[in-house]
Amino acid sequence: MKINIPIAAATASLLLFSSLALAEVAYVSNEKDNTISVIDLDTYEVTATLDVGKRPRGIILSHDQTKLYICASDSDTVQVMDLATHKITKQLPSGEDPEQFSLHPNDHHLYISNENDALVTIVDTDTNEVLAQIDVGVEPEGMAVSSDGKIAVNTSETTNMVHWIDTETMALYDNTLVDQRPRFVEFSKDNKYLWATSEIGGTVSVIDVASRKIIHKVTFKIRGVHSDKMQPVGIKLSDDGKYAFVALGPANHIAIIDAHSFEVIDYILVGRRVWHMAFNADQSLLLTTNGISGDVTVIDVAKRKAIKSIKVGRYPWGIVVKSK
């Protein structure tokens, strides 16, 4: 059999190119290093470490994945990074000490929780304009906007409340009391339920969005780990609506919850003080940031197994995955 070398070479390079095009990268904010680590998800290696503002924590991608928004908490700003050049192109007025934020489906309204000021600031990312500042409870932290764009939710760590904000009027319209120190919230894909973690309470509250009442509380128990260490922080809900993944902080585990029965079905061991998580595009992988051990653990979602831990900077906090 004869092989046409130029055609074979062209095919090979095309295959190589397409595999590169499919590759994904993760961006991780390192709270104590003032950097962002870039991880290639084909090789599981850190390919770049980028300097950013002071104490970077929450990070999110713009909907077209060309920009990365970074809460530079101690610089009191939200930085915008162009992902093509890895350069900071803009600083948004975020209010003091921005920690977590959420991008409205309209792609330019950023909802930012200002931990020190008990405020939620809404910023227009196009005009740099502060659209509103809404008073919420003490130490606001978790922030989420529903996928239909109608509701924004904030949690306040000290008031122990979930605050409901109407995005049209930009005003608070209700509060729900949850367990101690609520840290993170996420809407279910159909926007019917809101999942909220309570770090000190050690629970995850599932709240009915229509009535804003708690319909279930999930608790955690791991053999060999003291119950005080069960401190849920980050949540990720799978797109198929079947599972919820909860980062259990100093318990060093991720809990997998059946999103219908609310039963914990498995625990996966990851690094120390696991904080936040991100899925890759097809949700075959879940990545966790492990603050104290300074690494990111990659979990095979189908097998429910941790497959690799990758060293990043000091105290990795937020994480997002971008298709290359």
């Binding site: 791991i222 053999r223 060999g224 780990v225 060093n252 061991l269 990851v270 690094g271 120390r272 051990s293 690494d295 653990t297 990659v298 197994k305 941790a306 497959i307 690799k308 831990s309």
Partner: protein
């Protein structure tokens, strides 16, 4: 009569089949050999389940539970007990039973002993694989190819431990009972190695213990098995295990004198 390779092969087959038959007929021995490591895995390791989730240790790619850490050491524990037990019985059998018959063979004694060590090793492997299968129940799940890659490592370790056992029972008169071997050989070898705790943990507690562990060939045997099971190769562990196996085999064969046990006379 001149011995041909066919004779050698026939002899090896004979010894292997006999070990295999003995293994099948003594099923209680098989299960009792499995109970010991399983107790360690299920009872002892359960208490420390979360103890190791604080550091990534070669060859693992991520954080592991204590069960996962301890499993290769327990595989080697099976080989250690089997190697010592079988070698001791070989020495006792010098004066009677099958060993006496075997030693009447016209083939060289070193060959017979090496065949015997390899046969014991091969039979021990069945127990190790049975253990690894049961270990799946407590989430000890090495990669599939790891089960194949670990085979030569296990074989080498089994031969090394068999040779050490044969050497000890041939040369050290005072240890000619299993209790002695257990207290003075098996336990120190097992505990002062990386089987139960990684060496950096040992170093944290005592520099002396750490040095003893690094001088213990069992540490290298465990690391060889651990790396192979997770599809990695530890060159140092392999070299040390191989060298130890060779050195002890030579001395064990030299020391194995059938007349010594029979009449207590001088080797002739």
């Amino acid at each position: 009569m001149k011995m041909t390779p066919a004779h050698y092969w026939y002899c090896f087959q004979g010894i292997l089949i006999r070990e295999y038959l003995r293994f099948i007929q003594q099923r209680t021995r098989f299960f009792s050999a499995l109970v010991r490591p399983l107790l360690w895995l299920v009872v002892f390791a359960a208490g420390f389940r979360a103890a190791l989730g604080i550091a990534i240790i070669e060859p693992y790619e991520t954080y592991i539970t204590y069960e996962v850490y301890i499993a290769p050491g327990l595989c080697c524990m099976i080989l250690l007990f089997n190697g010592m037990q079988s070698s001791l019985s070989m020495v006792y059998d010098r004066e009677m039973g099958s060993m006496r018959v075997l030693l009447m063979s016209p083939l060289p004694r070193w060959f017979l002993l090496v065949c015997k060590l390899i046969s014991i090793a091969l039979v021990s492997l069945l127990q190790v694989y049975a253990f690894l299968l049961i270990a799946l129940l407590v989430d000890v799940e090495p990669p599939l190819w790891g089960y194949l890659a670990v085979l030569p490592a296990l074989l080498l370790v089994a031969v090394m431990l068999g040779a050490i056992g044969l050497f000890i029972s041939s040369w050290i008169k005072q240890l000619e009972n299993f209790a002695g071997v257990m207290n003075f050989v098996i336990f120190p070898m097992f505990f002062l190695s990386s089987a139960l705790y990684p060496l950096w943990k040992m170093q944290e507690s005592s520099e002396w213990i750490y040095w003893i562990c690094t001088a213990n060939p069992f540490t290298y045997a465990v690391e060889l098995v651990r790396h192979a099971l997770y599809l990695k190769f530890d060159g140092t562990a392999c070299s040390v295990t191989l060298a130890t196996a060779l050195i002890f085999s030579v001395f064990a064969i030299k020391g194995f004198n059938p007349q010594r046990a029979a009449g207590g006379g001088k080797p002739g």
